[in-house]
Amino acid sequence: MVNAINDALDIKLAEDKSVIVYGEDVGVEGGVFRVTEGLQQKYGVERVFDSPLAESGIVGTAIGMAVAGMRPVVEMQFCGFVYPAFNQIISHAARMRNRSRGQLETPMVIRMPYGGGINALEHHSESMEAIFGHIPGLKVVAPSTPHDAKGMLISAIESNDTILFMEPKRIYRAIKQEVADGKFTIPLGKANVLAQGKDVTIVSFGAMIREVQKAMVMAKEAGISVELIDLRSIYPIDRETIAKSVRKTGRIITVTEGPKSFGLGAEISQIAIEEAFLHLEAPPARVSGFDVIVPLPKGEHHYMQDPYKIFYEIEKIVKY
């Protein structure tokens, strides 16, 4: 996935001079995950560069650049370090267009590796998509494969809206996939049905997709047919795809990494009951993180979704 993202940046840097890339250590170093490797050498320090260590500064200046006609793509080094930029995101990046009645736009992308499972220090393992999904004016997306990462990032850069682009760092290098060369886009806001099934719908995104797929193997053995939806877009949510699926299966489970309360799961469940109440055979369920801080590595396995946990819920909902 790292290469796919790098490729997307490369393509957009090459074709559009208004695209620039910056953030902490993204220049010479190529980012702590090497996502921007080689780009400074190729496009120069004016287009790909290290910023001072200040997230509000990074996002705030990007807003200014965007308003002035550029398309900045900035990086938050880790999910836990986006919060100093929170005010700029919620008060400006997400509002400039509405505030100015469409006169000013902020076509910018905030890239951010998110999620756990990499044996990291505190603040490096969070998945707080629900907070960002709740911010009016922002769009929030997360790919689950290298192919999606490339196509979605190109779409994000070309969008005139402000996009928070969440990258599942856990699978940065885990999934090997041939990704088509050259430019292609994947529309933002549409979910992707990864597997057709009839007994239960599972909605997930990002790194959790892989865990769900493992659980699906168990489910298959148990004779349970699972329909898997990769959200791709956290906000806006593709209600139609979810509705259609749950009307068919009558059962829905969300699988996410973030804390449970006020999380993504509740929103999806609500959509299911709004759209398919009379089709429901069991209460929409959520497999999520606990309402706790992601434990340090030695305790993280307690927190993260293991395929068994997902299968456990599949069994429960089918037996309900």
């Binding site: 620039i20 004016e46 910023s51 001072p52 200040a54 509000s56 500064g57 996002v59 705030g60 200046t61 990007a62 807003i63 200014g64 650049m65 965007a66 308003v67 002035a68 006609g69 550029m70 900045p72 100093p84 005010n87 700029q88 008060s91 400006h92 400039m96 267009r97 509405n98 505030r99 100015s100 009645r101 469409g102 006169q103 000013l104 736009e105 076509p107 009016p136 004016g137 769009k139 969008s159 005139n160 809206d161 806001g189 906000y235 806006p236 949510i237 209600r239 139609e240």
Partner: protein
């Protein structure tokens, strides 16, 4: 100038005294009589509008409004210098500069009456809307500065903040980024002595606000913000330095907020009549007027004649704003996104259904 008035020495840059007399001839900017008169009239217009708004507010015809009263020379000087291609990044007390960019009084009225349309700025290019979250706008200015440098344009950004705003982290990050990037931004701190009720000395223990420039390796200067000439000269030199690639400048403009913080504030709670009186003689319009009168460029008579015209104009625009009409419900939804999410469209439709139902109930 920036060496002579290095903020480390804590000098205040001044050109005229309280009586409008030139005390620093060497630094006097070259401004034609005509331009000067225009500047004075613009400031007078701004003040007239400002005072009138306060009275509208008392009549309940407008919501909260933050008066510029007493601080007109700062926006006045910027307004006289700013070009069509320069950017204006206001806080919320820069009426003069906004008018100079082509924002209309009517738009400002609309904004403070509670219409987002007031931030559309139909005739003003390169002007950001009023920024309510203190100091956050300064980062936008630094970013715009980057764009100017990146595209090698001959432009500058004027960015405003209050004394209180210098305490925010964003102030620090903005001037710091601009310093590292060496981008053409003139940061102007309107030090009007208060952030709502909090006096500047409770914001920081530093000797001045201008001296904070040192922390970012950028040019800084402390200016008598009630001295039109000093402000003009400081802004002019700052623009020169910016366009010369010398990086940003931080101006502390020392002034006094003669009015309340906003129309819902009561300054008698936290400051004394004596203090207010002490600043009376430093009033920027008064000082410029004394200068102009001495030069026979202006007279009380002319002022008496023109003010009613201004009032009329203010009133005309105010009434236009008052008659702006209802707020279309589409406007609640349609401007958030370039590409509107389906669910948001559905929310709008559902709202429409509710309104129809309600209409059927309440008639």
């Amino acid at each position: 100038m920036f060496n002579e008035y290095n903020p480390i020495d804590n000098k205040v840059f001044q050109i005229i005294d309280d009586k409008g007399k030139v005390i620093n001839k060497a630094m006097m900017p070259a401004v034609s009589d005509e331009k000067l008169l225009k500047a004075y009239k613009d400031m007078l217009f701004a003040r007239t509008a400002d005072l009138q708004i306060v009275s509208y507010q008392r009549q309940g015809r407008i919501y909260t409004y933050p008066p510029n009263y007493g601080q007109e020379a700062i926006s006045g000087a910027v307004g006289a210098i700013i070009g069509d291609n320069d950017w204006l990044v206001p806080a919320f007390r820069e009426m003069g500069a906004m008018l100079a960019k082509g924002v209309t009084l009517k738009e400002l009225f609309l904004y403070f009456m509670g219409y987002e349309d007031g931030s559309k700025f139909q005739n003003a290019k390169k002007t950001l809307p009023i920024s309510v979250p203190i100091a956050s706008q300064l980062l936008h200015a630094a970013g715009i500065g980057y764009e100017i440098k990146y595209n090698k344009k001959d432009e500058v950004v004027f960015a405003f903040v209050g004394d209180g705003g210098t305490s925010e982290g964003d102030f620090h990050e903005a001037v710091n980024f601009a310093g590292v990037w060496k981008v053409p931004v003139v940061f102007i701190i309107q030090n009007n002595q208060y952030g709502i009720s909090t006096p500047t000395r409770m914001q920081t223990a530093s000797e001045s606000l201008a001296i904070k420039a040192v922390a970012y390796g950028v040019k800084g200067i402390k200016v008598d913000g009630n001295d039109y000439f000093a402000m003009y000269k400081a802004v002019e030199e700052s623009v020169k330095a910016c366009k010369n690639g010398e990086g940003p400048v931080l101006i502390e403009a020392v002034t006094y907020r003669k009015g309340a913080h906003t129309t819902s504030d009561d300054p008698t709670k936290y400051r004394t009549k004596e203090e207010e009186q002490q600043w009376e003689s430093k009033d920027p319009l008064r000082r410029l007027k004394l200068y102009l009168e001495a030069k026979k460029l202006w007279s009380e008579k002319e002022e008496e004649k023109i003010i009613p015209q201004y009032k009329e104009e203010v009133d005309r625009q105010f009434i236009e704003a008052e008659n702006y009409g209802p707020y279309p419900k589409e406007d609640v939804f349609k401007y958030l996104y370039a590409e509107m999410p389906d669910d948001l469209k559905e929310q709008e439709k559902e709202y429409e259904r509710f309104l129809q139902w309600k209409a059927s109930k309440v008639k």
